[in-house]
């Protein structure tokens, strides 16, 4: 049996193993993989997501058990230090020796740190591995704890630098991007495109400094600033360097393999190095004098190396390698493909720029006007996948090439027809090299969901950029077969949430079992469709969560929010944030009695943490006796209506914001909806209640209230849009009733109002038309349904306590014992308690 040693367990090294396993019987080769990093290969492309959730597992390419199952020996935390080509062995840092028949160098690259005096100071980081991110985050936490606002800079305004900039901004730092070139993303964008992008980034709050060469990193031990010239210094508290990459060719160099003058292991298009038994693939390989810093070419290289080893001597990299890229920044569309900068001077450009909307589109067309050679899209990259395909496949373009970016004017047809016009050989998912033909074939075989097609073909499982196109291909293929597709809830229901709403309402269905047996598949359902059904019963009959407790999401089932250690939090309603001293004392007494951690929430109320399951009814009994009611903090329902003090106290106030907020909170409390929703009322345009980041927000102005809808805080902040101006209290309530009910009826599961508005055809103009002009003739119905919900409100905690069944008590931790859960441990923190940390 021959032995293959793989040095480097990054994305490409892993892909080599995967492709080898797909093409050989298990055990055909002895395979040993060495990785210097502590964990198995993970998805570096989506590294930024780690900032948000620190979930390393989610990024993992395959668990260790995968390597075991395929008889691959994976040795992590072990750097290979030498290659001895004469006796075909390698040695590792811990002096172990291994013999090879074939050696694969997949050592990737490291972040390039320019030799600026002072870069070794504390607070300077790079951005390449999970450990880099951990170190960066720890430092951010440390400096933020000092209190005053902190400043961060990114050195390098390329693709990676901008991603990093957004991540630091999201961590609450004032962020600047410092670029040496006169424009951003200099390898992908021209000057005009860069300007449009710059404006967008500045709108997000990222400062952009161009044409800046950094001379020195200032500071004693830790960085305090970046010096650009004698009289220009940028004060910063930390720096992330993203100034390019350097291929890791040190092993190759010391064993005498040919390397490029500026680094990289020289390979021919069969991926062989100057030693025919040694291959180099991925970001360490220098092919055609180039390092391809993208995964897709790396994956292709892995495939070529596998084929070569298996004896297919014809296998080779294509002569032209696609370097098209799309920036992964939420809210900002940037993409470039082909010869974007017209470097070959073979094309004429057509440019469209709209400064109002911040859109820039450019395409480069061959001089005979017949072929698309490249292009740039900023601000609106929705056509990227299609244009990219037209370019890759050399497809015919319209007689007026400008139609490609302007849309055809006058005619009915889209300027580039349907995705089905693509040739079958068109590569749709470049990470996994899946063609249009592969995808359509699977759809015809009956895999009609994105999940199904992904499982069959692996398309969309790499960078994910092809998802929209794969979706379109599924929809269009089914349409061509005369089947219409819709967004179904899950494998158990072939209906969208909106359709289920109508079914439940028209047929008067009252239970999940009835719904599943009459309109679903299987007998059991799942954690997706059950809460959807529960939400529908609530939205239609105003059933409280007690009625259907086993199909509720866990939080609804126990009428409390589960916390990290399995305990719960308790949040009584404090409408509009108005609370009396007596009520404060009452809450305080209860918190003391049950030893609960207390904190003021963002919604102007008090959250009591650390209650064990069996304590919930006891705590609520006491709260209810004092006159409190459920705050529904656990439900997909109204949370709070936040208010400022308004004209009662504030010298600027134009109206009584508190009174109105209380009225609205009491009006909509307890109403279940596709997702949670929040309101806000400000007494004047100073907007102290932050009403415009709520699902509905009203602001007092001269002559009435302005009503805004579909705003959002959270992960995708968005300002609410103006629905109506200068309206009186009664009209505010009327429009809000209609708006909310329209949303409740038509939105998909777990879609907030902002995302719903984004998707709805016609956008805010359409919603205005429905809510104000009654363009669909449904307003009477919406108001009636809303009134029904408002009038049937009851406090579900009161109901729960009155109906506790001692014999079958959902709030008991054990069915056969009164004991408490002994697994729960608390430690103390600033005079209160907190859960013991996960180890």
């Amino acid at each position: 049996m021959k032995t293959i040693l793989v040095i480097g367990n990054g994305m490409v090294g892993y892909k080599f193993c995967e492709k080898l396993m797909a093409k050989t019987e298990k055990g055909a080769y002895k395979v040993v993989v060495f990785g210097e990093e502590p964990r198995p290969a993970y998805d570096r492309v989506h590294l930024s997501e780690y900032f948000a959730d620190q979930d390393a597992e989610r990024l993992s390419m395959a668990p260790r058990s995968w390597y075991e199952a395929n008889d691959i020996e994976l040795i992590t935390n072990e750097r290979v230090t030498d290659i001895h080509r004469d006796n075909k062995t390698i040695t590792t840092i811990s002096d172990k020796e291994y013999v090879y028949d074939y050696l694969i160098l997949a050592t990737g690259s490291s972040a390039f740190v320019p030799p600026i005096p002072g870069v070794e100071k504390k607070g300077v980081f790079v951005y390449r591995t999970i450990e880099d991110l951990d170190a960066t985050m720890a430092y951010v936490a440390k400096i933020k704890a000092e209190g005053s606002p902190k400043k961060a800079a990114i050195l390098g305004g390329g693709l990676l630098g901008l991603e990093a900039g957004k991540a630091l901004l999201d961590m609450g730092l004032e962020t600047s991007v410092v670029e040496f070139a006169p424009r951003l993303m200099p390898r992908q964008l021209d000057g005009d495109a860069s300007k449009v992008l710059q404006r967008k980034l500045e709108d997000l709050g990222i400062d952009i400094l161009l044409n800046k060469g950094t001379q020195n990193i200032e500071g004693d031990e830790a960085i305090t600033g970046m010096k650009f010239s004698e009289d220009e210094t940028l004060p910063v508290d930390m720096l992330l360097v993203s100034a390019g990459i350097r291929p890791r060719d040190e092993l190759a160099k010391t064993c005498g393999l040919e390397v490029g003058t500026r680094g990289g292991i020289v390979v021919t298009n069969d991926m062989k190095t100057s030693d025919a038994c040694i291959f180099a693939i991925g970001e360490c390989a220098l092919l055609n004098h180039m390092i391809y810093g993208l995964v897709a070419p790396g994956y292709d290289m892995a495939g070529v190396a596998v084929d070569q080893i298996l004896g297919n001597t014809e296998a080779a990299m294509p002569t032209s390698i696609d370097m098209s890229t799309k920036l992964k920044l939420s809210g900002i569309d940037v993409a470039s493909f082909g010869d974007a900068l017209n470097e070959n001077k073979e094309s004429e450009s057509i440019v469209y720029e709209n400064k109002f909307q911040g859109i820039y589109k450019k395409i480069n067309v061959s001089k005979d006007g017949k072929k698309l050679l490249g292009g740039i899209l900023v601000g609106d990259a929705s056509d990227y996948n299609m244009l990219h395909q037209i370019f890759l496949n050399g497809m015919k373009i319209p007689e007026n090439p400008e139609d490609l970016i302007l849309g055809s004017r006058g005619g009915e047809d889209a300027s580039f027809g349907s995705v089905l016009d693509l040739p079958d050989a068109a590569v749709v998912c470049s990470c996994e090299a899946v063609t249009k033909g592969d995808i359509c074939c699977k759809v015809e075989e009956g895999f009609t969901t994105l999940k199904g097609v992904a499982a069959e073909t692996k398309a969309t499982t790499g960078c994910g950029g092809c998802k929209p196109m794969v979706n379109d291909l599924i929809t269009e293929t089914l349409k061509a077969q005369g089947i219409t597709v819709k967004e179904t809830v899950c494998e158990h229901f072939e209906y969208s949430r909106q359709e289920l709403y109508d079914i439940v309402k028209l047929k008067g269905i009252k239970t999940y079992a009835e719904l599943l047996s009459t309109h679903g598949k299987g007998k059991l359902g799942c954690e997706t469709c059950k809460p959807v059904a529960a939400s529908l019963f609530a939205s239609i009959y105003n059933d409280t969560a007690n009625v259907h407790n086993v199909i509720q999401d866990s939080n609804d089932k126990f009428l409390a929010n589960i916390q990290r250690n399995g305990t719960y939090s308790v949040v009584p309603r404090v409408a509009g944030g108005e609370i009396t001293p007596d009520q404060l004392i009452q809450i305080g007494e209860i918190a003391k009695k049950y030893d609960l951690y207390t904190k003021i929430t963002g919604g102007q109320r008090i959250d009591l943490f650390g209650a064990q399951l069996h304590e919930l009814p006891l705590i609520w009994k006491e709260l209810i006796d004092y006159g409190f009611e459920s705050g529904h903090a656990y439900g997909k329902s109204l949370r709070t209506v936040k208010s400022c003090v308004g004209s009662t106290w504030c010298r600027y106030g134009m109206d009584e914001s508190v009174s109105f907020a209380i009225e609205m909170e009491n009006r909509y409390k307890g109403i279940r909806s596709p997702h949670k929703f929040k309101g806000g009322v400000s007494g004047c345009i100073r907007e102290c209640a932050e009403a415009r980041c709520k699902d509905f927000g009203i602001i007092a102005v001269d002559g009435g209230w302005n009503l805004y809808v579909a705003g959002n805080g959270g992960a995708n902040p968005r300002h609410a849009e103006l629905l109506a101006e200068k309206i009186d209290n009664e009209t505010v309530l009327k429009y809000t009733d209609r708006f909310l009910m329209y949303y409740i009826k038509t939105a998909g599961p777990l879609i907030r109002t902002a995302a719903w508005l984004d998707k709805i055809e016609g956008g805010i103009a359409h919603v205005k038309d429905v809510v104000i002009n009654d363009s669909l003739g449904i307003c009477e119905g919406l108001e009636r349904d809303m009134a029904g919900l408002i009038n049937s409100y009851r406090c579900e905690w009161k109901e729960a306590i009155e109906n506790i069944d001692e014999n079958n008590n959902r709030f008991a931790h054990f069915v056969n014992s009164e004991a408490e859960d002994s697994n729960i441990e608390f430690v103390s923190l600033r005079d209160q308690k907190m859960p013991k940390l996960w180890s």
């Binding site: 059991l524 954690e527 059950k530 086993v550 589960i562 079958n808 008991a812 697994n823 729960i824």
Partner: protein, 124 residues
């Protein structure tokens, strides 16, 4: 922490040496789960009323080591009965204990029998 997991190992029907008498059937919610205490162990028991089937597993979720699985939601994935953890919705087969999201975790599962209106859990 992982020592918690050491206490829970899947037991097949043939390996059972003792049937632990847990509680009357009426104490378990229909189409839901509840937790049984066996000495220092916590076993989650699931009542699939629609199909008349019962399953049992460790109560501790192997993801973050919290005693919560009995409070999760039951359901099926292409015919496999499963439990979704209430904390992060990782799902596990109640037949084999394997994770159904393709991750590395597994849970221990135990046989259940019903006799004279009582729920028994197979242990050894």
């Amino acid at each position: 922490m992982n020592s918690i997991l050491e206490n829970y190992k899947t037991i097949s029907e043939s390996e059972v040496t003792t049937w632990f008498k847990a509680a009357p059937v009426s104490k378990f919610p229909e189409n839901g789960g509840a937790c049984v205490k066996i000495d220092d162990k916590q076993i989650a028991v699931f009542n699939f009323t629609v199909e008349g089937k019962w399953y049992a597993s460790q109560n501790v979720c192997p993801h973050k080591m919290e005693m919560v699985l009995s409070r999760g939601m039951i359901g099926e994935d292409c015919g496999t009965p499963k439990i979704a953890c209430p904390l992060h919705k990782k799902t596990f087969s109640l037949e084999t204990g394997e994770n159904l999201n393709g991750e590395d975790y597994t849970i221990a599962v135990y046989p259940v029998k019903i006799e004279d209106g009582f729920v028994y859990i197979g242990i050894n």
